[in-house]
Amino acid sequence: MSATLSAPVPAARARMTLRLALLGIVLVLALLPVLNRLPVESALYVSDFTVSVTGKWITYAILALAIDLAWGYAGILSLGHGAFFALGGYAIGMHLMRLIGPRGVYGHPTLPDFMVFLGYERLPWYWHGFEHFPFALLMAMAVPGLLALVVGFLAFRSRITGVYFSILTQAMTYALMLAFFRNDMGFGGNNGFTDFKELLGMPLNTPDARAVLFYASLATLAGSFWLCAHVTRSKLGRVLIAIRDSESRVRFLGYNVTAHKLFVFVLSAVLAGLAGALYVPQVGIINPSEFSPGNSIEAVIWVAVGGRGTLLGALLGAFSVNALKTWLTTEAPELWLFALGGLFIAVTLLLPRGLIGLLRKDEG
């Protein structure tokens, strides 16, 4: 049935429109931190809130791209991408915690506050190395990647596909959530990490830091988009789409389906981890609720709303659903879950190709 999705390669004209649209989005977004520096009276002034919210959405958009790469192109619906996102966030969170140093409430030279509180004597072994930013950034990608490698290998090897894989990944993020809620895991338990002070020598929560993080996120989004576009248009991408549409046929044709799926799943997890690493310094907190299965599935619906199988759709979905969420949760918070649930139903029943599908109706 997934054959009803749009053709992977849009016509030349459509490709042109796509590039222009993308360029437009990036330019508008890139202007935001600049407009933030205008005087408050100015008509074009953009508030701190808008900048930080948009920065957050950009990291969501990277997550959406990651999900779309696996689901839209290879047919792997992961309901555990929130876990990769959160792991990336935790990795950078550990770095930020180490940077607090003696400025914590308890003033311990190396141990973060929660460890002093829990009576730790020394830093657990897995906390070493996180005082270096490059190491933390590497871990933000390597840990989700490794987890995806293991889970993916076990699952794809025994041909766990479709909903079974979805439920398996959901169980994975659920188990991680339970584990991270424990105090003796050494990740701050219930409260997670917060009260960050600085990153790369710049104090957080200043307009400068916001702008830097914003541009870093935007650059990462652009880079990820370029990477995903490259992957999906390559021969590898064609094989992935073929796997999505008929896995056994591809296998019978002699392709190594397991390896292809594993590659795209790990790449997707690394991107999600990177998104999480950019997300945490911007929101200033990471805790185990980021692992909750609801978060992962919400991210999946961004992609579905935007239109899966198109990279632009993932971005469109992430921005539009989150814009709706931000607006609705301030205007009528009790209605948000109805709206989100309604989106799930409406998109699957009425808009299988998402918003992009609406825009491209005439192209077929």
Partner: protein, 522 residues
């Protein structure tokens, strides 16, 4: 009853040996003496273990015991008084209350505590025996011996004998100590074990005996722990079974993935709450609200199931991933709707009296009644589902449609109708699970989310499409969880089970009870 009291006392009196009777009469008449005499008499009565002393001392403590100028002590009754020493009716004219001071009061407290071991209420006797067991002193030995000779209730008697053994352990007599050690060893409780270890410290001569007895206790305790773990595991397993059974029908048999399944369980729990509130004004109906909730919850959840299937899921057949997302959205809406209707806080569902309390199985294994009922209920629901699928026309059509929809249709089966009914049936079973869960879990809007993943695990582990697999899967996951818990803690046990399950699927991708033949190819 009160009217016959003197007669009863008289009878008791006649049955007692003459010596005891004389001692009793002497002690009672001493109650009319000075405070020092009174206190001494109270202590003597307390140590006598004589059941007749209990009402006398209680009345004395209440300040209602009367005394005539001639020194005889009277026990007031409803219409007059009796002689406390003989039980014969007596004239209360001119009598005044027996006065007591703090010293007598202190003596009374001690005496009443020991005497409650001969009370007429078995529960009071049991409590007294337990208190003596804990306080253990050689002084209690004669009292316990008298009490044991008179005891008729086997449970109370056993507890008294334990108390006697514990008291003998601190007495001087070596042989009695040895016998006591063996007896305590057989008792097999942690308390007895602590007593024995203490005795070992105090008299090293008995070390060998104590060690054997402790080893006996340890074996018994280990066995009991294993039995308790097994029961807890079965209990958790039955909860998983209930939650997963509906899923075994909609997902296992129909192949429809319904992420709102947990919310149907939640609807069942709220139906239980609503039925209870309806029954509340009618006192005789209230204890029956829970049984009444079972069909009500089935109908509510089944109705929700029909609406979901006919209205939405039907349009997505053959697209499982879309179905998954769509039903997740439905679950969200249901949760939020319930939250807005009933509030976010937990709703309280009462347990009827016949489901409360604990039951002692042979071998002193304490079993909470409501857990036991849930195990029974889980098996009943399983029986119902199996019977419906195997032995009814509807079940036959359901199997026909799931095996080969088009051929079933050509045979004249209305496949659409069967789909709707099957889905309604599975959803209804989820609703019934909600009734059971309302007894052990918080009835809150997110009740279902905690069970949905576990339920899918059970169905996948057991083998999709196999009810026997669901049963075995649920029970074994429950037991494994509870066995791991003491070593790894509840959360890590869960994580370990999830990981083990993933590895298990490596070996047997189609679950424990894999379907064979054509049905397996679907």
């Amino acid at each position: 009853m009160k009217r016959h009291l003197p007669g009863l006392l008289l009878l008791l009196l006649l049955a007692l040996p003459a010596q005891a009777q004389e001692d009793f009469a002497a002690a009672v008449s001493a109650l009319s003496g000075g405070f020092a005499q009174k206190a001494e008499a109270v202590e003597r009565l307390g140590a006598s273990g004589d059941p007749r002393a209990l009402p006398v001392l209680r009345t004395l403590a209440d300040g209602r015991l009367l005394m005539r100028p001639d020194g005889s002590v009277l026990l007031p009754t409803e219409n007059g008084a009796v002689d406390a020493a003989t039980g014969a009716p007596a004239d209360a004219a001119g009598a005044e209350p027996v006065r007591i001071n703090n010293r007598v009061r202190a003596a009374l407290r001690g005496a009443l505590g020991r005497l409650s071991i001969v009370s007429t209420d078995p529960a009071e006797r049991l409590a007294a025996a337990e208190a003596v067991f804990r306080s253990r002193s050689a002084e209690n030995i004669p009292l316990l011996e008298t009490a044991i000779a008179r005891e008729t209730d086997p449970a109370v008697r056993a507890q008294m004998e334990l108390a006697l053994a514990a008291s003998r352990l601190v007495a001087a007599d070596e042989d009695a100590k040895r016998a006591a050690i063996v007896q305590l060893g057989r008792a097999g409780t942690a308390e007895a074990r602590a007593l024995l270890l203490e005795a070992r410290r105090d008299s090293p001569v008995l070390a060998a005996e104590v060690d054997t007895a402790v080893a006996v206790i340890d074996r018994q305790l280990a066995l009991k722990r294993a039995a308790a773990t097994l029961f807890q595991g079965l209990s958790l397993g039955s909860v998983l079974l209930l939650a997963a059974l509906g899923l075994a029908v909609t997902f296992g048999v129909m192949g429809v993935i319904n992420m709102a399944h947990g919310e149907f369980v939640m609807l069942g729990a709220y139906t239980t709450f609503v039925v209870q509130e309806i029954c509340r004004p009618v006192p005789w109906l209230l204890p029956w609200s829970l049984p009444l909730s079972v069909p009500a919850a089935f109908l509510v959840a089944a109705l929700a199931g029909v609406l979901l299937e006919r209205g939405l899921i039907r349009h997505l057949y053959g697209r499982p991933l879309e179905t998954l997302l769509m039903t997740f959205g439905v679950g969200m809406i249901l949760q939020q709707a319930v939250r807005l209707t009933f509030g976010a806080q937990n709703r309280e569902v009462l347990s009827p009296a016949w489901m409360q309390g604990t039951l002692m199985l042979p071998g002193d294994i304490a079993v909470t009644q409501n857990r036991l009922w849930i195990i029974i209920f889980g098996l009943l629901v399983l029986g119902l589902v199996v019977a419906a699928i195997r032995y009814t026309r509807f079940g036959l059509e359901m199997r026909a449609v799931t095996q080969n929809r088009r051929i079933a249709a050509t045979m004249g089966i209305r496949t659409g109708q069967v789909d709707a009914l099957t889905f309604a049936f599975g959803s209804g079973v989820a609703g019934m699970a909600g009734v059971a869960l309302s007894q052990i879990d918080n009835v809150s809007p997110n009740l279902g989310t905690g069970y949905i993943i576990d339920s899918f695990m059970v169905v996948v582990f057991g083998g999709v499409g196999s009810l026997a697999g669901t049963l075995v899967g649920a029970l074994s996951l429950g037991v494994v969880n509870k066995v791991l818990e003491p070593y790894a803690g509840a959360v890590l046990a869960k994580v370990a089970v999830l990981v083990a399950l993933m590895l298990f699927i490596q070996r047997r991708p189609r679950g424990l009870f894999a379907q064979k033949g054509r049905a397996a190819e679907a």
